[in-house]
C-alpha cells in the first residue's frame, strides 16, 4: 500500500510547473514593471469618477441635502442604499480570510489578499455615506462618545446608528490589521528584491523589519489565528447591526426579525460576487490564471448559489409573513408596494428577485460555474440585484408607510446623488488600482505554503515519496521524537 500525496478529488490550487522563485517572479512582476496602458486608462477613469464624487459632495455640503431628491417621507434613499451595499461587499474579505482560515480551506490563499483589500476599500466607500448623509456633516464628531464640556452630553446608546459607528469602525480596524499583518512577509520580499534605494527604504519601513526568522513566522501565524478568531464574529455582527438600522424601527417593511441572518447572507452573497468581478479581471490582466484558477472561481460560485438561495428563502419568508401576520400595513408594503409588479416600485422588487434568486440558480450546473464569462456576467448581475435589495427595503418601505396622507411622490435620484455613488466607485477603484500597482495582489508566502502540496513541479517528489511503501514510512517515522 502506498500513500497518495496528491489529492485525487481536489484539483490543484496552483497550475503549472512552478518553483518558489517562479511564484515570486509571477506575482511580484506587476509591482516591478511599468504599468500597462490599460492600467493608466483605468486609473484615469477611476480618479475622474472620484473627482466627480468630490464635486457632488461639495454641492451637497454647501447647498444642503436638498441637492438630493429625498423628501419629507423618504428620508433615506440612494445614500443609505449605497451604504448597505458597500458594507455588504465588504463582507467577503473577512469571510475568506478569517472563516476559511479557521476551517483550513487551502483554496483561500489564491484570493484572500485581493478580497481583503476589496473589503477595506469597500468599507471605506461605505463609510462615506453615513457621514455625508448628515445634514450637518461638520458636526459628525457628535456621534463619538468622548468626554466633553457640554454637560457632559453623551451619545444615545439606544440608537442603531450609533451601533453602526462602533460596528463598522471595529470591522474596519480589524480587517485592516488582518490584511496588513498578512502583507508583512510579502512586503519584505518586495524590499529584498528592490532595485532602487527609495523602494528599498519605503518597502523596508512597510515591512516592519521582517527578516523571515522562525520566530517571526511563529508570531505571524499566531497573530493570524488571533485576528481570525476576532474577525469571525465580526462577519456576523457587522451586517447584523446594519440590519438593526431597519429591524428596530416601526416602519412596515423594516420592522422584521428576519433581517440579521438575511442581511449577513446577502452580504456574503454580494461580497463574493464582487470578488469574482475583480479577480476575473485581475487574473487575466496580470497573467495570474495559474494562481487564481478555474477551481477558485468554481468554489466561489458555489458560495454564491448557496447564499443566493438563502436570501431567496428570506424573501419568500418575508412575503409569507406579510400575509400570515394579517397586518394590513405590512401586507400593503410587501404585497402591494413590493410584490405587485405594476405598483410604482414593483419593477425594483422583481429586478431584485430576478437578479438575486432566479439567475444564480444556473450555478447548479458545473459547466456554468467554470465558465469565466458567465461568472463575470453573473457577478455583475448579483451586485445589481443586491443593490436593488437595499433600495427595495429602504425606499419601498418608506414611500408609502402608515398614513396614506404622507405617501410620497415618485423618488428618483438627482445627478448629485448619483454622482456621490459614482464617486465611491472612483474611490474604490483608485484604491484598488494603487493596491494592484504597489502591493502583491496574491499572498506570495501563502501560495508557497500550499505549493508543496499542490504544485506541478513538486509532483516528481511526490512520486518518489509515494513509491515508498506505507509500512516503511510508518516505521521510519514511528520513533521520530
Amino acid at each position: 500500500m502506498h500513500i497518495k500525496y496528491e489529492s485525487q478529488l481536489r484539483e490543484p490550487l496552483v497550475y503549472g510547473e512552478k518553483n518558489f522563485h517562479q511564484v515570486t517572479e509571477d506575482i511580484l512582476r506587476p509591482i516591478e514593471v511599468k504599468p500597462s496602458r490599460l492600467w493608466y486608462i483605468g486609473f484615469f477613469i477611476a480618479v475622474t469618477l472620484l473627482l466627480f464624487g468630490v464635486f457632488s459632495l461639495y454641492r451637497e455640503v454647501t447647498y444642503g441635502i436638498g441637492q438630493w431628491n429625498l423628501n419629507k417621507t423618504i428620508g433615506w434613499g440612494w445614500d443609505i442604499t449605497n451604504f448597505v451595499w458597500w458594507v455588504g461587499i465588504g463582507h467577503a474579505g473577512t469571510l475568506i480570510s478569517a472563516v476559511l482560515l479557521l476551517f483550513r480551506q487551502g483554496w483561500r490563499t489564491g484570493v484572500n489578499r485581493a478580497a481583503e483589500a476589496m473589503t477595506i476599500f469597500a468599507v471605506m466607500c461605505a463609510g462615506q455615506f453615513p457621514i455625508f448623509h448628515m445634514g450637518r456633516v461638520w458636526l459628525a464628531f457628535f456621534i463619538m462618545p468622548y468626554p466633553n464640556s457640554r454637560g457632559p452630553l453623551w451619545v444615545n446608546f439606544n440608537s442603531p446608528l450609533l451601533w453602526d459607528v462602533f460596528a463598522i469602525s471595529t470591522y474596519f480596524t480589524v480587517s485592516l490589521l488582518f490584511w496588513y499583518s498578512g502583507l508583512l512577509p510579502d512586503l519584505a520580499t518586495v524590499r529584498d528584491r528592490a532595485f532602487t534605494k527609495l523602494r528599498q527604504k519605503l518597502y523596508g519601513i512597510a515591512a516592519f523589519g521582517w527578516t523571515g526568522s522562525t520566530k517571526h513566522w511563529q508570531r505571524h501565524e499566531s497573530l493570524s489565528l488571533v485576528l481570525a478568531g476576532l474577525s469571525t464574529p465580526l462577519v456576523l455582527s457587522v451586517h447584523t447591526i446594519v440590519s438593526f438600522d431597519f429591524a428596530t424601527s416601526v416602519i412596515p417593511g423594516w420592522h422584521t426579525t428576519i433581517f440579521p441572518p438575511y442581511f449577513v447572507a446577502g452580504a456574503i452573497f454580494s461580497g463574493f460576487a464582487m470578488v469574482q468581478s475583480l479577480l476575473i479581471v485581475v487574473r487575466k490582466v496580470f497573467g495570474l490564471t495559474d494562481y487564481i484558477t478555474i477551481g477558485h472561481i468554481d468554489l466561489m460560485n458555489k458560495v454564491i448559489v448557496l447564499t443566493g438561495s438563502i436570501v431567496g428563502i428570506a424573501y419568500l419568508t418575508e412575503l409569507f409573513m406579510g400575509w400570515y401576520s394579517q397586518n394590513k400595513y405590512e401586507g400593503y408594503t410587501f404585497w402591494y408596494s413590493r410584490a405587485y409588479l405594476f405598483s410604482p416600485y414593483g419593477w425594483s422588487y422583481w429586478g431584485m428577485m430576478t437578479c438575486n434568486v432566479l439567475s444564480p440558480q444556473i450555478f447548479w450546473s458545473r459547466k456554468m460555474r467554470r465558465n469565466v464569462f458567465v461568472t463575470f456576467f453573473m457577478s455583475i448581475i448579483v451586485n445589481i440585484g443586491m443593490w436593488f435589495e437595499r433600495f427595495v427595503i429602504i425606499v419601498t418601505s418608506l414611500y408609502r408607510d402608515y398614513l396614506p396622507s404622507s405617501w410620497s411622490v415618485y423618488y428618483s435620484p438627482s445627478i448629485w446623488e448619483v454622482g456621490f455613488y459614482l464617486g465611491t466607485f472612483g474611490l474604490f477603484f483608485t484604491c484598488f488600482f494603487l493596491f494592484a500597482k504597489y502591493f502583491p495582489v496574491i499572498a506570495v508566502a501563502e501560495i508557497k505554503y500550499v505549493l508543496k502540496r499542490s504544485g506541478e513541479s513538486f509532483k516528481p517528489e511526490f512520486e518518489k515519496l509515494e513509491a515508498e511503501p506505507l509500512d516503511k514510512f510508518v516505521h521510519d517515522n514511528a520513533h521520530a521524537h
Partner: protein, 1051 residues
C-alpha cells in the same frame, strides 16, 4: 523726585522715528474696507483716508439701525406706539398685545396684534368679539406678513415717478374741480363712510361706487325684491338644526366664514350623553371646503342650482318636484325638504349664487321653513359685502363714453377682477384724473396717474362695523414703514377739512361713546358690543317669487360641460396671491399649493384624460408624478390652458377653476409663474357677474405642468385592509344605536397587547414609569374641524416656519409643522370627506427619540417630544421612523441662518429669497429659533408659550391654569376644534374633553404603542343616506360582501 520712566521697547525709549510712525498707525494690518492701498496718498495714515474707522463703524451702525429707524425714530411719538397699557409696563423682550381689526376688502375680523419690541409679529383672534369669539382665518393670520411685504409701494407717485404728498395734493386740487367717482371695495367703516360723504358733498355730482370682486349683488337685489331692503340680514347657523346650502361656501369664502364657522360648529359639537347634531345638506357643483363638511352632499351642475331652489321651494310647500331628472338629485331635494320641514323654525337655506331669481326663491324657502326671525335676523345686517355689480357695469360704460373726469380707487382692483377688464382699461384711458390708494402697484394702480398708497391696517387708525351696531376698532401697532397716507386723510384734505383722520376718528367716536375715557376703554377692548337684539323677521313679497320661479323653470339645461369659478380659502379674490404663506397653504380641497388648475371629477378624468382612478396602476401613475396633464378650456371664445386635478366630489359634467391667480408681477414675487387669471372666463348677465358658464369645451393639449401637491393619496382603505387606526368616522344614527362602537373597535385592535385597560403596561417589554407634574396634551375634535387652514398659517407665523417655494414643495420639501390631512371614504364619485389636523403627536414612547444617535430629540418630563436644533446632525432617522411623518428637514438654507455664504442663489427661488429680506424678516418671532440648514424640526406644542405660561404662574405663586396658555393653532381656530392643556390637571379643559368623550376618543395608530399625547374625537356625520345603505346592506349582505371585495381589490 525724578519720575521713573517705563518703556516697552527701545523705540519708545529712544523715541525713534519708526516708533512714532508705528504709534500713529493704530491698525498694523490693513483694514478690509480700503480697497486699494494705492489710493492712499503718500504718508497718509488710515485715519486720514476718506473711509476711516469711524466711517466703517458708521456703516455698521447704519445697517443695524436701519430696521429700527423704520419702527421708531423720526416720526412723532403719538403715531409710534399706541400705548394701550401704561408705558412703564413695556419691557424689551416682553410682547404687548393691542386690540385692532383685520380689514381687507370688506372682510372684518377683530384681532389682537402681538407686538414685540415695536414690531407686530402675530395676530390672535380677539376673544371679546361676539362675532368671531377669538377665531381667525388663514388670511387673517397671514396678513401680518403683508405688512412687511417688499412689494408694497413705498412712496406716493405721479405717473410712476416719486412725488411728495404736497405736490400731489396741489396737482389734484387743480385737477379735481368737477365730479369724481370713488370706487372702493365694501367699506364697513362708519367714519370712512362719513368722510366719503363729506367729499361727495364738496365735489358736486360725485358718487361712490362699491365694487366687490366677487359680489353678493344678487342677495342684495333679491332682498330688495323680497323684503324691500337692500341689505343682507345676519345668519345664525348656531340656531339651525337643518342647513341647506346651494353651493354657498359659507365656511370658506362666503360673506363671513370665520363667523359662520364658529356658528356652524355649535351645531356639530356632540354631547356624548345626549347626542344630537344639526344636519347640513349641500348641493355642490365643484368640490368645496363647505361641501366637504356637509352631512349629505348632492352633485349638480351650476345651471341646475336655480331649478333645485325652485324644486326645493315646491317640496317644502308640499308640492311635487318638477324639472329635475337626475334621480339622486331628486332624492337629495326630497331629503333636504324633509329635513327643513321637520325643523321648521330652526332651518336655514343659503345660496352662493349671483342669480337674483334664485336668491328670491331661497328667500321664499327660508320664509316657508320659518327661518326669518329665527335663523335669519333682520334686526342686524351683515355689512361685509355691499357692492352691486350693475352699478360698476354702468360706471364702466360711463367711463368709455368719456363722461367721467376723475376716479379714485381704494381697495378695488377692477382692471384685474372685472370680467371685461379691457373695457375698464379703455375706459380708464379716457379719464383725466385717475388716483389709486391701493397699497401695491396692482393692475389698476398701474394704470392710474396718481398713486397714494394707503398704509397697512396694522399701521392705521380706523373702525369697522361688520354687523350693524358692532364696532371693531383699528389702532396702529407700528408707525408707517413707508411714505403712506390714509385714504381718509387724502379725502379730508381734498374736501377742505384740515383735521387729520386720527383726530377725526377720535372725535367721531368720543362723541358717540360719550367722552375720551370711554373711547380709550373701547379702543383697548377693540370692540364695541351693542345691547342684544331679538331676532326679527321680515314680511316677504311673494309676488316676486312666482316671477322668479317662472323665470328659472323656463331655463332648460343643456348637456354641455359647465364651468364653475370659485375662490380659494387662502387666495380669495386674489388678495392672498402675493402672500407666500397663503400661496404655500395647501388648499383644503385639493391639497395643492402655488397654482390654480382645472378641477374635474373622476368620471370626466376617464374620458378626458384616460385616467381611471379605480385602476390601481393608473391611479398610482397619476398620484406619484407631479406633472399633470394640461387641458385647454374654452368658453365663449375665451380660453385658458391649465393643468387638471381629479377631485372626487365634483359633478361629472362640471369643471372648476379658482380665481385670484395670474396677478401682475409687481404685486409680489409669489405671483410670478403661479397660476392664470380666470376672471375673464366669468360673464356679465344683466349687469351681474356670473361665475359659472354652461358652454365649455375641453381639449387635451398633450402637455403637462407640475402641480405642487402636499398630499397625493386620499383614501385610507387599501386592498390589504381598511386603515381604521388612522381615521375613525361614524354616522350619528350608528352612534346613537351603538355609542361604544369606536371604543370596541379600539379594544379589538389592542386585544393582542392587553386591551385598552392594560395596553400601556402590556404593550411593551420595558417598565412603565409614572408621569407626575405637568403632562401636556391636545385633543382635536374632527367634528368641529372644517379644514380651513387658519391653524396652519398661525403655526407658520408663531414658529417661524420657513416658506420653501413651489419648486421645493414639488419635491416634498414643505416645512409645515401642522398639516390638515384629508381623507375620502365611500363612493369615489361623491365621497365623504374628513379633515384631520396632524402635528407632532408628542408620543410618550416616541420612535424618533430612541433612534437619534446624538440624542438631539428627547422627551421632557412634561410629555413633550423636544428637538434640540443645536445638537441635531441631520441623519433624518427620526423622520423615517416617525409613523406620522410630521418631522421636517431643512433641505436647504431656507431661512438664511446658515453659516455657508451665498448658498441660496440658484437653489431656492425668488420667493424664498424675498422671505429672507431684512424687511420680511421683521415678522419673525424672536422667541423661536430660526432653524438652519441640515436640522430636523417639528411641532413643539409652542413650547415658548408653555414656558411663558409656567413663568407667569410661578411669578404669581399659583398653579398654572388653562387660561395661561393657548397654543397658536388652538388660538387661531374659529371652531375651537383644538383643546390643549395639562392632562394631569383634573380641572383642565383637556381632561374634561377626554373624560366627557370616552366613546369618540381615539389615538392615531394606537396599536403601535407609541403612546401619543394627542387624542382625536371621531368624526360623526348626521347623514341619513348611510342609514339607508345600512338597511340595504343587511338585506343582501352576502351579495354585498362579494362586491365590496371587488372594489377593495380595485384600489
Amino acid at each position: 523726585m525724578e519720575q521713573k520712566k517705563h518703556w516697552q521697547s527701545f523705540g519708545e525709549l529712544n523715541n525713534s522715528e519708526a516708533f512714532n510712525k508705528e504709534v500713529q498707525n493704530e491698525f498694523k494690518e490693513e483694514l478690509p474696507f480700503v480697497e486699494d492701498e494705492s489710493t492712499l496718498e503718500k504718508g497718509e495714515s488710515f485715519l486720514q483716508t476718506k473711509a476711516p474707522r469711524r466711517d466703517f463703524l458708521k456703516y455698521v451702525g447704519f445697517s443695524t439701525a436701519a430696521a429700527a429707524v423704520a419702527a421708531s425714530c423720526e416720526m412723532p411719538i403719538k403715531k409710534a406706539i399706541p400705548f394701550a397699557n401704561k408705558p412703564e409696563d413695556i419691557v424689551p423682550g416682553i410682547a404687548e398685545y393691542y386690540a385692532t381689526t383685520y380689514v381687507q376688502d370688506g372682510d372684518v375680523v377683530s384681532v389682537l396684534a402681538k407686538v414685540r419690541d415695536g414690531r407686530p409679529i402675530k395676530l390672535e383672534g380677539n376673544e371679546l368679539s361676539p362675532i368671531t369669539a377669538g377665531g381667525t382665518s388663514a388670511r387673517v393670520q397671514a396678513s401680518v406678513l403683508d405688512l412687511y411685504d417688499t412689494a408694497r409701494l413705498r412712496f406716493p407717485s405721479t405717473s410712476g415717478k416719486e412725488a411728495s404728498f404736497e405736490a400731489i395734493d396741489k396737482a389734484i386740487a387743480a385737477e379735481l374741480n368737477g365730479a369724481a367717482v370713488i370706487v372702493t371695495s365694501s367699506i364697513t367703516s362708519p367714519s370712512t363712510k362719513q368722510v366719503i360723504a363729506q367729499f361727495l358733498a364738496k365735489h358736486a355730482g360725485s358718487k361712490h361706487i362699491t365694487y366687490d370682486a366677487v359680489s353678493h349683488s344678487a342677495m342684495l337685489l333679491a332682498n330688495q325684491a323680497s323684503y324691500g331692503k337692500t341689505i343682507i340680514p345676519t345668519y345664525h347657523f348656531e340656531k339651525a338644526k337643518a342647513i341647506v346650502s346651494l353651493s354657498a361656501d359659507f365656511l370658506g369664502t362666503w360673506l363671513s366664514p370665520v363667523e359662520f364657522a364658529r356658528q356652524y360648529a355649535v351645531g356639530k359639537k356632540l354631547d356624548e350623553k345626549n347626542p344630537a347634531m344639526s344636519r347640513h345638506i349641500h348641493f355642490e357643483t365643484v368640490a368645496s371646503m363647505t361641501g366637504s363638511n356637509a352631512d349629505e352632499k348632492y352633485l349638480c351642475r351650476p345651471s341646475e342650482l336655480p331649478m333645485i331652489a325652485a324644486a326645493l321651494l315646491s317640496a317644502v310647500n308640499g308640492g311635487e318636484i318638477t324639472g329635475i331628472t337626475d334621480a339622486k338629485l331628486k332624492a337629495g331635494i326630497q331629503a333636504a325638504a324633509k329635513t327643513l320641514t321637520a325643523h321648521k323654525g330652526a332651518a336655514l337655506v343659503v345660496s352662493g349664487s349671483n342669480n337674483v331669481n334664485e336668491q328670491i326663491i331661497v328667500n321664499a324657502i327660508n320664509n316657508a321653513v320659518g327661518a326669518n326671525g329665527s335663523t335669519i335676523n333682520f334686526a342686524e345686517t351683515l355689512n361685509y359685502r355691499q357692492g352691486i355689480d350693475s352699478n360698476f357695469a354702468s360706471f364702466v360704460e360711463e367711463m368709455n363714453a368719456g363722461k367721467v373726469n376723475a376716479v379714485l380707487f381704494y381697495g378695488a382692483n377692477p382692471v384685474y377682477t372685472w370680467p371685461a377688464a379691457d373695457k375698464v382699461k379703455s375706459g380708464l384711458a379716457k379719464v383725466k384724473t385717475t388716483i389709486s390708494f391701493n397699497a401695491k402697484l396692482d393692475e389698476t394702480t398701474a394704470l392710474c396717474k396718481y398713486s397714494i398708497p394707503a398704509p397697512h391696517f396694522l399701521e392705521s387708525w380706523g373702525d369697522a362695523e361688520p354687523v350693524s351696531g358692532h364696532i371693531s376698532f383699528i389702532q396702529p401697532t407700528i408707525s408707517p414703514l413707508f411714505k403712506t397716507r390714509a385714504f381718509e386723510d387724502s379725502l379730508l384734505k381734498w374736501s377742505g377739512d384740515a383735521t387729520d383722520y386720527t383726530t377725526y376718528l377720535k372725535n367721531y367716536w368720543s362723541a358717540k361713546l360719550g367722552g375720551e375715557t370711554a373711547w380709550n376703554k373701547t379702543l383697548q377692548a377693540g370692540v364695541f358690543i351693542p345691547a342684544d337684539v331679538n331676532n326679527i323677521g321680515a314680511s316677504i313679497n311673494s309676488s316676486a317669487v312666482a316671477t322668479a320661479v317662472a323665470a328659472v323653470t323656463a331655463n332648460k339645461p343643456n348637456n354641455k360641460i359647465e364651468l364653475a369659478l370659485y375662490q380659494k380659502v387662502g387666495i380669495g379674490a386674489g388678495q392672498g396671491a402675493s402672500n407666500p404663506w397663503l400661496q404655500e397653504l395647501p388648499d383644503p380641497v385639493t391639497r395643492a399649493t402655488w397654482d390654480n388648475y382645472i378641477i374635474v371629477s373622476p368620471s370626466m378624468a376617464r374620458t378626458l384624460l384616460n385616467i381611471d382612478l379605480n385602476n390601481a396602476g393608473q391611479a398610482d401613475a397619476y398620484e406619484v408624478k407631479p406633472p399633470k396633464q394640461v387641458v385647454k378650456l374654452t368658453v365663449d371664445g375665451k380660453s385658458i390652458e391649465l393643468p387638471v386635478l381629479i377631485i372626487p366630489g365634483t359633478h361629472p359634467q362640471t369643471v372648476g377653476i379658482a380665481v385670484g391667480y395670474g396677478r401682475a408681477e409687481a404685486v409680489g414675487k409669489s405671483v410670478i409663474g403661479t397660476g392664470k387669471n380666470a376672471y375673464p372666463l366669468a360673464s356679465i348677465e344683466n349687469g351681474l357677474v356670473q361665475f359659472a358658464s354652461s358652454n365649455v369645451t375641453l381639449t387635451a393639449t398633450g402637455e403637462t405642468y407640475p402641480v405642487a401637491l402636499t398630499q397625493t393619496h386620499f383614501r385610507y382603505d387599501t386592498a390589504q385592509g381598511n386603515r381604521t387606526e388612522v381615521m375613525k368616522e361614524i354616522t350619528l344614527a350608528e352612534y346613537i344605536k351603538h355609542p361604544t362602537e369606536i371604543l370596541e373597535e379600539r379594544e379589538a385592535e389592542l386585544k393582542p397587547y392587553g386591551g385598552l385597560e392594560n395596553y400601556e403596561a402590556q404593550g411593551t417589554i420595558y417598565p412603565v414609569y409614572a408621569r407626575p407634574g405637568i403632562k401636556w396634551g391636545m385633543s382635536v375634535d374632527l367634528n368641529s374641524c372644517n379644514g380651513c387652514g387658519a391653524c396652519v398659517v398661525a403655526c407658520n407665523a408663531e414658529n417661524n416656519v420657513a416658506v420653501v417655494g413651489k419648486p421645493e414643495v414639488l419635491r416634498g420639501h414643505e416645512m409645515h409643522w401642522l398639516r390638515i390631512d384629508k381623507y375620502f371614504s365611500g363612493d369615489m364619485d361623491n365621497p365623504k370627506v374628513v379633515f384631520q389636523p396632524l402635528m407632532c403627536q408628542h408620543c410618550d414612547n416616541a420612535p424618533c427619540e430612541n433612534v437619534c444617535p446624538v440624542a438631539a430629540t428627547n422627551h421632557s418630563s412634561e410629555g413633550l417630544n423636544q428637538m434640540t436644533y443645536n445638537r441635531c446632525i441631520g441623519t433624518r432617522y427620526c423622520a423615517n421612523n416617525c409613523p406620522f411623518k410630521v418631522r421636517r428637514f431643512n433641505w436647504a438654507d431656507y431661512s438664511g441662518a446658515d453659516s455657508f455664504p451665498d448658498n441660496q442663489r440658484d437653489v431656492l427661488n425668488d420667493v424664498v429669497l424675498d422671505m429672507n429680506d431684512d424687511l420680511t424678516r421683521m415678522v419673525l418671532n424672536p422667541d423661536v429659533t430660526v432653524r438652519s440648514r441640515g436640522v430636523i424640526e417639528k411641532c413643539s406644542f409652542c413650547v415658548q408659550r408653555l414656558q411663558a405660561a409656567k413663568l407667569d404662574a410661578k411669578k404669581e405663586s399659583r398653579p398654572m391654569v388653562d387660561s395661561d396658555v393657548k397654543v397658536a393653532c388652538q388660538q387661531s381656530c374659529p371652531t375651537n376644534a383644538i383643546n390643549f392643556g395639562n392632562a394631569n390637571d383634573k380641572h383642565s379643559a383637556i381632561t374634561k374633553v377626554r373624560v366627557e368623550n370616552p366613546n369618540r376618543q381615539f389615538y392615531v395608530l394606537e396599536q403601535l404603542h407609541v403612546l401619543p399625547n394627542v387624542t382625536y374625537l371621531a368624526k360623526v356625520r348626521n347623514s341619513e343616506e348611510e342609514e339607508h345603505a345600512e338597511a340595504a346592506h343587511d338585506t343582501k349582505a352576502a351579495h354585498d360582501t362579494k362586491a365590496e371585495h371587488k372594489t377593495e381589490a380595485a384600489h
